[in-house]
Symmetry: C2
Subunit: 179 residues, 2 copies
DNA sequence: TAGATTGTTAATCGATTAACAATC
DNA sequence: TAGATTGTTAATCGATTAACAATC
């Protein structure tokens, strides 16, 4: 059992808001008691849609890509369908149990293995092509570590991870709270 | 020259809000014209505090740490003061122009080279110790890729990068917009 | 039953937008 | 001067909080 106040503390928000937000999706709690942890996890997984494994492909197996590839293999609700790189020397090698494939085979691969999400960890210049290929292959969401400016295909949700921006904002906050 | 509407499109917000937010910090624009790009960049850098180089240390030079280390060396307003790992085999090696040092020397190092920010890219178990050492060394902001639960020292701002959570939320958004 | 905590309503607060006077 | 766009005010909208009836 967990109470809304505990969840709030952990998430840096208020008990009211935790209850409000959860109740938006349904009454998951038990009055007078709180929320059963197991069933709450199940409910949230269902809300997010990750109650069944989500298939994903990763493009770019450099240092960053390898790290992500390894990490995601340890997350149960993600299934890595394939990893791709343009460097011939990497083809056939494995990171964990995932074999690296030529990036040029990505389009064909997606026809065989439909993926829900794509993760992009390549240098900025090739990103638009990869995004287009992913979109044509039916991928609906892409997380990119490359910060190139992009034409986002219709029906695709694209999100960036911008480490420099995170650090800039962190620095701003650290100095603000100092005063 | 750039107009508030252009900035808004790029940032996914409204022209009104761009003007409002900028004017909160000062009148950076020219009525009837827009914002001078160069001077706007300068102003924003000053707001964030990154107009002078920000010194940082990185702890954990695995795949992820190496990628970040390389990347941050290319960002002009960050200066990497040191990179640390607990693996003896890495000590003395370089990533770009940065030499890897023993993580046990971090405390001493910070006394010699005060750093503003820390980046943590190690496995979750050692994080609390590193955070404490950073805090004692005067580091005010930490960006962690390790998702361990932490006691955050007084006066420190801590921020996580949670790739699994990014992907979960991306998946939720991708499916929501499908409907 | 008494105590506790949810789900939800109404009240508050803050953030966004619309609109326009100021002015380049 | 005419046209354009900022900076800012007032109006709107949405998000958060406070409070409490419902109920385990």
């Amino acid at each position: 059992m967990v109470r809304s106040g505990q969840l709030a503390r952990r998430c840096g928000t208020s008990a009211s808001l935790v209850r409000k937000d959860l109740s938006y999706f349904g009454g998951f709690g038990i009055k007078g008691k709180g929320y059963r942890v197991e069933s709450l996890i199940d409910s949230i997984e269902k809300i997010l849609g990750i109650n069944k494994p989500v298939g994903l492909v990763l493009i770019g197996v450099g240092n960053l890509g390898s790290a992500i590839l390894r990490y995601l293999q340890s997350v149960p609700y993600f299934t890595i369908l394939g990893a791709f790189d343009r460097d011939q020397k990497k083809w056939g090698k494995k990171v964990g149990r995932i074999e690296i494939l030529p990036v040029l085979s990505l389009g064909d691969f997606l026809r065989e293995h439909p993926a829900e999400l794509g993760v992009i960890a390549i240098p900025p210049d090739g990103v638009q092509d990869v995004v287009n290929t992913l979109s044509e292959g039916g991928v609906k969401g892409v997380l990119s570590f490359a910060l190139s400016e992009l034409e986002v295909p219709e029906g695709m949700v694209l999100q960036f991870v911008d480490i420099a921006a995170e650090l800039e904002f962190l620095y701003y906050k650290a100095n603000k709270s100092k005063k």
